[in-house]
């Protein structure tokens, strides 16, 4: 058990390390080294540029620069933004709350849509209702999230004018507006996730249904609700955590786009904003921070899973 945990921890650290290499060199090895180009554009005085380069250590070999960067990151120093001069970590922290809020709201909306439908579809597999739900979920999975977003804006903001089209207002400024603005991006992302969640609830339920304890529940004469929800669904919850772990990466990708569609100024918006201002230190720092967070969340879910499922403990790990 502990060897397995240690093993997983080690893998996670290695993965983050590999990602950091990719993030650093993918930018710095690009033709014309964008970091140098941007620096050149800031100060058009060649002497000043040379001074800046020396100050920032950009004249050292790339791998030296890499280790300086990653060394700083390990000490919690992600460098400073090339444009605003503020510490990268500080900028990330000011934006991350909005994204976490959006993702949690989206997961909840996805669950609210998917769980009841999934349970109902699984009670009569292969019947008309199941077929309709399944087809809709295929459509949901095929629809890029920005299309869902645009459709929602067209309907709810332009056509019926129920909700504001886009923007972000802090909770402390205007709580009502904050919630109104959150509804559409969270729902767009939630619908996208619901299609996937539906699959897992439905298929997970079908698997559980074959277990002997379900037979017992039926034989005891329990109500359908008790059979399907209490005995059935509760036993799909564990697998669900693994699903969530895998979905986190996809959710984050979706968030980046959804935040752009609805101008929700979270981390995804920050990433795209640093792309358009060509603020590469901010971009690299943010991408590394988010990727590491995703890997760590995955690791935690994995470990939690091992804790919660007694079978993993006794069999010494099957995750």
């Amino acid at each position: 058990m502990y060897t397995m945990m240690l093993n997983k921890l080690l893998r996670a650290v290695l993965i983050i390390f590999l990602i950091s290499i990719v993030i650093f060199f993918a930018v710095r090895m690009a033709p014309g080294d964008p970091v140098m180009t941007v620096l050149g554009a800031i100060g058009n005085n060649p002497e000043k540029v040379e001074l800046l380069r020396n100050q920032m250590g950009l004249n050292d070999p790339l791998f030296v620069q890499y280790f300086r960067w990653i060394g700083g990151v390990l000490r919690g120093d992600f460098g400073v933004s090339m444009i605003s001069g503020k510490p990268v970590l500080e900028i990330i922290m000011s934006r991350i709350g909005a994204s976490i809020e959006l993702i949690i709201a989206a997961i909840l909306i996805g669950l609210v849509i998917a769980v009841p439908i999934g349970i109902i579809a699984s009670t009569r597999p292969g019947k008309l209702l199941d077929k309709i739900c399944t087809t809709i979920s295929i459509l949901g999975m095929s629809t890029p999230v920005f299309l869902i977003g645009l459709l929602m804006i067209t309907l709810f903001a332009v056509q019926w004018q129920w909700l504001p089209a886009s923007g972000y207002v802090a909770w402390s400024e205007d709580a009502g507006m904050h919630v109104k603005l959150l509804i559409m991006p969270a729902t767009a992302l939630g619908i996208f996730e619901a299609a996937v969640f539906f699959r897992f609830v439905r298929n997970g339920m079908l698997d559980v249904m074959r277990e002997p304890f379900m037979e017992t529940a039926r034989a005891k004469g329990l109500s359908p609700f008790a059979i399907f929800v209490k005995h059935g669904f509760r036993n799909t919850l564990l697998t669900f955590m693994t699903v969530l772990g895998l979905e986190i990466g996809i959710l984050v990708s979706g968030t980046v786009i959804v935040e752009q569609v609805f101008s929700w100024t979270g981390i995804g918006w920050l990433v795209l904003n640093s792309v358009s201002t060509r603020d590469y230190t901010l971009l690299q720092g943010t991408v590394l921070f988010v990727s590491a967070a995703v890997v760590i969340i995955n690791l935690l879910l994995n470990l939690l899973y091992a804790f919660l499922d007694p079978r993993v403990k006794t069999h010494g790990g099957r995750g």
């Binding site: 290695l14 292969g126 629809t143 299309l147 645009l150 067209t154 693994t242 990466g249 990433v271 991408v287």
Partner: protein
């Protein structure tokens, strides 16, 4: 992480036969054929020159003259959709093929040699799969300037592990078969066994995965071009058209319909086809 492998596959498994999708499959075939023709021979489909600016009729609603209306420069939206098909389809196909070229040999090596090579490859695969692919794509494309080549390479890089995973899984079971033993005993080289004996038996899952990846690649490509990181104007791109549509959403709410539909149909058709192939070709599942 083994459970992750299964889940990734379940995510893709749609069990079309259960939906009774015979008609859907035929419709998908027709849609894909039309898109391929549009990509290869766009001039057959043009109603107007997709680049012809008509300052007198910007943002016209759909009519018999312009079935999907005109954009902010008075260009015919339908013809621009036709012209945009080429980039999206070729980037989709190109990245799937490149992902196959990278991913399949890695999967063969990992599954066949096991040991150290396997651990290293599996680490890369796990890392790439847990990584939010959109972030990597945005980072690389913004640094390397968007071009067809950059897009193909980036999309292939975030997707190749799917091939590696599937091939590796297949090889692990195939390598214990008698015919592989026989090949080994008769003194064939390892690379010969991998490519000539084992690979042909992995073709089915590879083809299925390739078709699903084309759909995924279209989603990433149109997403990137929606974010302004796709191929640059004046070349029409479906995602880019959606961005313009969004800025005129109050004046011309129908603008986004055509590019949106173009993307949705392409992804849906490719996914349905991929699912159909996996059901048709998977012997084990046919017997279920």
């Amino acid at each position: 992480m083994r459970s992750g492998l299964q889940l990734q596959r379940t995510r893709r498994r749609w069990r079309l036969n259960r939906i009774g999708g015979g008609v859907l499959v035929w419709i998908s075939f027709v849609i894909i054929a039309l898109y391929l023709l549009m990509a290869l021979f766009p001039t057959w489909f043009y109603a107007y020159d997709p680049f012809a600016i008509d300052a007198l009729s910007p943002l016209q609603a759909p009519s018999f003259k312009h079935i999907f209306g005109t954009d902010e420069y008075g260009r015919d939206i339908y013809s621009r959709i036709v012209d945009g098909a080429r980039d999206t389809i070729f980037i989709g196909l190109g990245s799937a093929i490149l992902a196959m070229i990278i991913g399949v040999p890695l999967g063969l090596i990992a599954g066949y040699s096991r040991g150290k090579a396997d651990s290293v490859i599996s680490l890369i695969v796990d890392g790439t799969l847990s990584f939010p692919s959109m972030l990597l794509a945005i980072l690389v494309v913004s640094a390397w300037k968007p071009s067809a080549i950059t897009l193909i390479v980036v999309i292939a890089l975030v997707n190749f592990p799917r091939f590696t995973m599937i091939v590796r899984g297949n090889v692990l079971s195939l390598r214990e078969r008698e015919y592989v033993m026989a090949a080994r005993l008769s003194g064939l080289s390892n690379s010969r066994i991998m490519f000539a004996e084992i690979l042909p038996n992995c073709v089915t899952p590879i083809i299925v995965q390739a078709s699903l990846l084309v759909g995924n690649a279209i989603v990433i490509e149109t997403g990137l071009s929606y974010l302004g990181l796709g191929l640059q104007p004046p070349d029409p791109s479906w995602g880019g058209m959606l961005t313009s549509a969004q800025s005129y959403i109050y004046i011309a709410p129908w603008y986004s319909a055509a590019p949106g539909l173009a993307i949705l149909l392409a992804v849906f058709a490719v996914n349905i086809l991929g699912d159909y192939l996996s059901d048709k070709m998977d012997v084990r599942r046919r017997m279920e």
